[in-house]
């Protein structure tokens, strides 16, 4: 059983459940209150009208249906990226490669729809190719790890750089119009745009239901299929998996490739649904934001839509505060950093007990080398909440 599932089990015990909810609720309220104070301090120091800036930060995404749509669209992209990361983390592989896989997926999708004749539904071709490209790009570090023993943290970080440079190179050489002053392709044909649904004033891209579907698919894969069970087992303990005759190597490369597939899809969705063209800087760190989203949910796919929508709300609120109050962008960046710290600080109580004299190690158990970071990360969550 993986570490994150342990968390889900704990609260079900009688009494503890209610206490956990109360404690969790109290902590959440305190965190939110604290966050608002910090936000206000930061804004007071940098904005002309801090109250207005705070207002637009907190209520921004609801101030117009256009902005609401923007928030949901950003959340959908975050969701896909988060699903990709959760997929691979659950399998115990610490791949940081979503950023590069997103670029590769976008490139494949974009190159296809730019060169194909336009026909209704051509966007599906782009999505398919994006997913395929992401799969292959995720397969590389997967096979390196499974059959070469190459550390996936290093290989995926390096592949991110390769993808970034390759993306710029290919746009520069083959996809930008002759008169371009910047590496950017032409806009796609509207048939290649991701369709959107119109509900009253609100426009919701197909990306949102699609992303939620992906999260559900990952959940299903991990929890209800043999392959997924094997991945989880390998993620929890390699010797156990080996001893019970599971296909460890297959689990390693397949989980990384499948994660790449979802990230590639995310790239295709960003290109077809948000930027509508290929442009240098397209991924804009969303692969790393996906890590945040996944870890905020302790890699539980069904919670990812919630976490993505919440995180997306702050991001969009920050963008709108920037637009309307002219605060420096860096206030938002700093704020994001602080919020992540505040939200993830999970076990103050245990620490105090520890300080009060009860001997209890900070980590739930020995840190298992191997995918050490993940084990350390997971073990800190196991004892948390």
């Amino acid at each position: 059983m993986s570490a994150s599932e342990t968390i889900a089990v704990v609260p079900r015990q009688s009494g503890a459940w209610r206490r956990a909810v109360l404690r969790g609720g109290g902590r959440l309220a305190a965190t939110v209150a604290l966050a608002i104070i910090v936000i206000f301090v930061l804004l007071a120091m940098s904005a002309d009208d801090p109250a207005a800036a705070l207002g637009s930060l907190l209520s921004g995404p609801f101030t117009s249906s256009f902005r609401t749509g923007q928030w949901l669209s950003d959340s959908a992209n975050l969701m896909l990226s988060g699903a990709a990361v959760a997929m691979v983390f659950r399998a115990g592989q610490f791949s940081l490669g979503a950023e590069g896989q997103i670029l590769v997926g976008a490139l494949a999708a974009g190159a296809a729809v730019l060169h194909l004749p336009s026909f209704p539904g051509v966007f599906v071709v782009g999505l398919t190719l994006g997913a395929l490209a992401g799969f292959l790009f995720g397969l590389v570090p997967g096979l390196m790890k499974a059959y070469g023993g190459s550390d996936e943290i290093v290989s995926t970080l390096m592949l991110n750089y390769v993808a970034t440079y390759g993306f710029a190179l290919l746009i520069n050489r083959y996809l930008q119009p002759a008169s371009a002053g910047y590496p950017v392709s032409d806009f796609f044909d509207p048939a290649a745009f991701l369709p959107s649904l119109r509900i009253g004033q609100l426009t919701i891209g197909l990306a949102l239901p699609f992303a939620i579907g992906c999260c559900v698919a990952v959940w299903y894969l991990i929890n209800w299929t043999k392959t997924g069970f094997e991945m989880g087992a390998v993620g929890a303990s390699v010797p156990f998996a080996q001893a019970t005759g599971m296909r460890v190597r297959r689990s390693v490369w397949l989980s990384m490739a499948l994660s790449g597939l979802i990230a590639g899809l995310a790239g295709a969705v960003i290109a077809e649904g948000s930027t509508h063209r290929l442009i240098v800087g397209l991924s804009a760190n969303i692969g790393f934001d996906g890590i945040l989203v996944a870890l905020l949910t302790a890699n539980r796919p069904l919670l990812i839509p919630l976490a993505a929508v919440a995180y997306g709300y702050i991001r969009t609120g920050g963008d709108i505060a920037q637009l309307s109050s002219g605060i420096p962008r860096e206030v938002i960046t700093t704020l994001q950093g602080f919020l992540i710290l505040a939200v993830t600080a999970r076990a103050p109580l245990a620490w105090i007990r520890h300080r009060a004299g009860r001997r209890r190690p900070a980590h739930g158990g020995p840190v298992i080398p191997g995918p050490a970071p993940l084990r350390a990360a997971a073990s800190s969550q196991r004892t948390g909440s």
Partner: protein
């Protein structure tokens, strides 16, 4: 290719990678090395610029980077924040915070123009101008020398001191540490602070010696590369030192090819990363054995 350029380039990688090594072996992955270097680089410029002494700048870099390490330690070790999340958060704090500090001091968001320029002290070897290798070493900043010393120092720490033993124990068999009456968290605190100290030095080299002045985001991924170098070096002191130095060499090779040939910039700039991938692939089997030897399962 200039040996002195290689030394200059390799020093930050070596120091930061050594920092990552200490933290990692204590059981804490320091993914915040990038942010620590960045804030260290800014603190160095401010310290040296306003005091007029390069060493003050170095000290400021060390203090500020260690402060970030302390934030990471408090949130991860005591408040149980997820390590990777907290590390990425520290990086965000550094990206935003450096610019906000710069803005409040100079009204500029891009670089440190307007702050007096400082420089790290340099150590020259008298009469070394005509000796091939020594000539390149002579006149290098104090941080380059510290980077060179870092290998024997780490080896000494590893094999000859209690702290070294505790650090390794904290990562490998925490229970043994607890049973001997020690608190693993204290060891991790020490390792993280040392890690911050080393990353701060690396940042100071970038902004007070290789270049003089701070530019936003000037660390440009070097902290992540240092983390990669540590893994590439199989999480051992010698391996880490060699791998980090290799990145310095590859940087220099890319630069020479950029100036002397007409290859595509993007291809040349990705050479170091591709080289690492290849090395990683070829070394994979060996690394895996090493890791298994460390005590645990791969």
């Amino acid at each position: 290719m200039l040996l002195s350029t290689i030394l200059q380039n390799a020093a930050p990688y070596v120091l930061a990678a050594t920092g990552c090594l200490l933290a990692d072996r204590a059981g804490v992955v320091n993914i915040a090395s990038e942010g620590m270097m960045l804030f260290g680089a800014l603190a160095a410029v401010l310290g040296a610029g306003y005091s007029g002494f390069g060493l003050v700048g170095l000290l400021a870099a060390i203090v500020v980077a260690s402060l970030l390490a302390a934030i990471l330690a408090i949130f991860h070790l005591h408040l149980r924040a997820n390590l990777i999340l907290a590390g990425l958060a520290v990086n965000l704090l550094a990206t935003g915070g450096t610019v906000l500090v710069l803005y409040s001091l100079t009204g500029r968001t891009g670089d440190s123009s307007g702050i007096p320029q400082g420089s790290l002290p340099e150590i020259a070897i008298p009469g070394a101008e005509h000796v091939p290798v020594l000539a390149s070493l002579s006149g290098q900043s104090i941080v380059v020398w510290l980077a060179l010393i870092s290998l024997p120092a780490t080896l000494y720490l590893w094999h000859r001191t209690r702290l070294g033993l505790y650090i390794r124990a904290a990562g490998e068999s925490e229970s043994a540490l607890v049973e001997s009456g020690l608190r693993p968290n204290r060891v991790r605190w020490a390792a993280l602070l040392l890690s911050g100290l080393l990353c701060g030095m690396a940042g100071a080299q970038l902004s007070l010696s290789t270049t003089h002045g701070f530019v936003r985001d000037m660390v440009a991924g070097r902290g992540f590369i240092a983390l990669g170098a540590m893994y590439l070096g199989a999480r051992t002191p010698v391996g880490t030192f060699v791998a980090a130095s290799l990145f310095g060499v590859l940087d220099a090779v890319a630069t020479v090819l950029q100036v002397r040939t007409n290859f595509s910039t993007q291809i040349l700039l990705s050479i170091p990363y591709v080289a690492i991938l290849l090395a990683l692939f070829l070394n994979g089997q060996r690394l895996r054995r090493v890791r298994r030897g460390i005590g645990g399962v791969s």
